[in-house]
Amino acid sequence: MFRKILIANRGEIAVRILRACRELGIRTAVVFSEADRKSLHVRLADEAYLIGPAASRESYLRIDKIMDVVRRAGCDAIHPGYGFLAENAALPRACVEAGITFIGPSAEAMEALGAKTSGRQLARRADVPTVPGTNDPLEDPQHAQDLARGMGYPVLLKAVAGGGGKGMRLVTSDSEFAAAFREASSEALNAFGDASVYLEKYLDKPRHIEIQILADAHGRVVSLGERECSVQRRHQKVIEEAPSPIMTPELRKRMGDAAVRLARAGGYTNAGTVEFLVDTHYNFYFLEVNTRLQVEHPVTEQVTGLDLVKLQIAIAAGHRLPFAWETITPRGHAMEVRLYAEDPENNFFPSPGKILSQHTPSGPGIRVDEGVYEGWTVPIDYDPLLSKLIAWGNSREETIARLRRGLEEYSITGIKTNSGLFRRILADPDFVRAEIHTKWLDELLRRPHPLAQDGTSGEEAAAVAAAVWQATHNGANLAAPTPGGNTGVSESEWKREGRRQQRERLL
């Protein structure tokens, strides 16, 4: 087993990993930027090393600086977490050169499975269904239309060079095809300087369901079952759960087998996730492989009882996966919400700043993987993920009730969080019936949204509290209201705090 592991990350995932190390009796070293001296991962680690200024490309993304700390601190392994360098094959390569263990797949497996196009090619070879379509550029409109007919409408035209919806057209019937092809090509040319487009079968109301796999260095690959992550805002997961409400033992077996086949085909080791889209007829299509630990790994942990980070470490240390794990069946139901420092009432604008007070829920069935604490200033420089609230229950119904209870108890002041969004989602009848798909949340958010209210006495209590708050906290501001009338708190402590931070960053 390892003596000392370097955690090349920050925030909640760095804390998550160092908790596992501590329970295993392994020393932890972390790196931190100048913006993170007071961060929770620095407080909790055994060792912490400054590696540069706030900007990630000068600190958390600098492989040279990280390898330097590994040598200085005498670490024998690196855990990359997720994000930052976690899917950068240069890091496992640097580890091999330095004789350090990378806790994750080899650089080769990462490249073979992690890149979208090579991953899809491998999937086809491993007989794993992919979304029907052409990966290759289509030049002849008539040839393209023939292919579309063969595939059956609706189809998507997508720019080969593209992303972000540019050069993309949904075609629902043959008569629309020619015009759509012209538009997509010219938009692609304008946006990316490359007119080529390809075809993909359009899935209506698909679900995002992913399979967690573990593969040891001795040839054993196992599936730990699925997670449903269909609730997404602009392609970003916000709620995940296990098991999937639509899963049957038969479908779970087929999807698990496909994921294991793919991992084998790519020579994969350690923990990974194979993402699929599942259509309304329960057909599943390979999407991509995440060659690392996922943000949402806790829901799998809560229903299997396994500690995925400990298993990652054990696999990296060369241990064998005991066979029994292959037959693990989930117990109960788990669900996770991602708490971001952002304001759902105001375009989801980010909301960094000082956490003036924090009350975190606990009690039966509640787990919080947090990266923040009261009194800490959430920096402007990184991802706004603060914490994950995870609930477990005997049924999906009990799990939702616990999550609602947990959110009701969760209180952070000083910054805004998206917890109101979850209150809305968890109360939505579609969600409660599990009638969700990857575009469901964006549709929900387009609907008008009355603020949740609990009647007259709640309003009266709020009015009274607002007056007492004004009398005790905010009296000074109103002495000089600004002309525009909409910056009444311009001199509030929030603002002053912002200035102070800014000053600190400039120093």
């Binding site: 709020a462 509290a465 004004q470």
Partner: protein
């Protein structure tokens, strides 16, 4: 102390008097059976006719408040009538000159319009980057960009004035 409080669209008059450690409170002229204590910064425990409410107060950059109470949320605004100088409530804000302020600290990464340009309601004025996200700041009304204080590369704080639209 007397305050005008708008919560959930209703205007209420709250009168406060401090008696020892407690607040005596009347609402729209009627004495309330209520106990208000601050249990954590900006978080109040309110017992109102037996009902227990926990009210968490989050000020918004536009000077109004979001009031959280368990799973419920309210928009609110408090005015001290002694200091009243023609302040108007939300519904009227889209008239006249609009001051565009930064909703969060960040860095101005792109200007989408120039001073003097015409602008539609909802059209993007500039982009502020914070927490690895680019956030488009939009015009609340149609009109003209009267003044543009923001410059590309400028670090801004929440509430800093970025532009005037008239």
């Amino acid at each position: 102390m007397k305050y005008e409080v708008v919560v959930g669209g209703k205007l209420r008059v709250v009168e406060l008097a401090r008696v020892d450690e407690e607040w005596q409170i009347s609402l729209d002229g009627n004495d309330l059976d209520v106990s208000v204590v601050e249990v954590a910064p900006h978080t109040f425990s309110v017992l109102l006719k037996g009902e227990s409410h926990q009210i968490r107060i989050v000020p918004r950059p536009d000077g109004t408040l979001t009031l959280h109470s368990g799973l419920a949320e309210y928009h609110g605004e408090v005015t001290d009538p002694r200091l009243w100088r023609g302040r108007r409530h939300g519904a009227l804000e889209a008239e006249g000159r609009q001051q565009i302020t930064a909703p969060m600290p960040g860095k101005v990464v792109r200007l989408l319009l120039q001073e003097g340009d015409a602008v539609e309601a909802g059209q993007g004025l500039l982009v502020v980057e914070a927490m690895k996200m680019q956030n488009e700041i939009r015009s609340p009304k149609s009109g003209r960009v009267e003044k543009l204080f923001a410059k590309e590369g400028l670090a801004v704080n929440a509430g800093d004035v970025l532009a005037w639209v008239e």
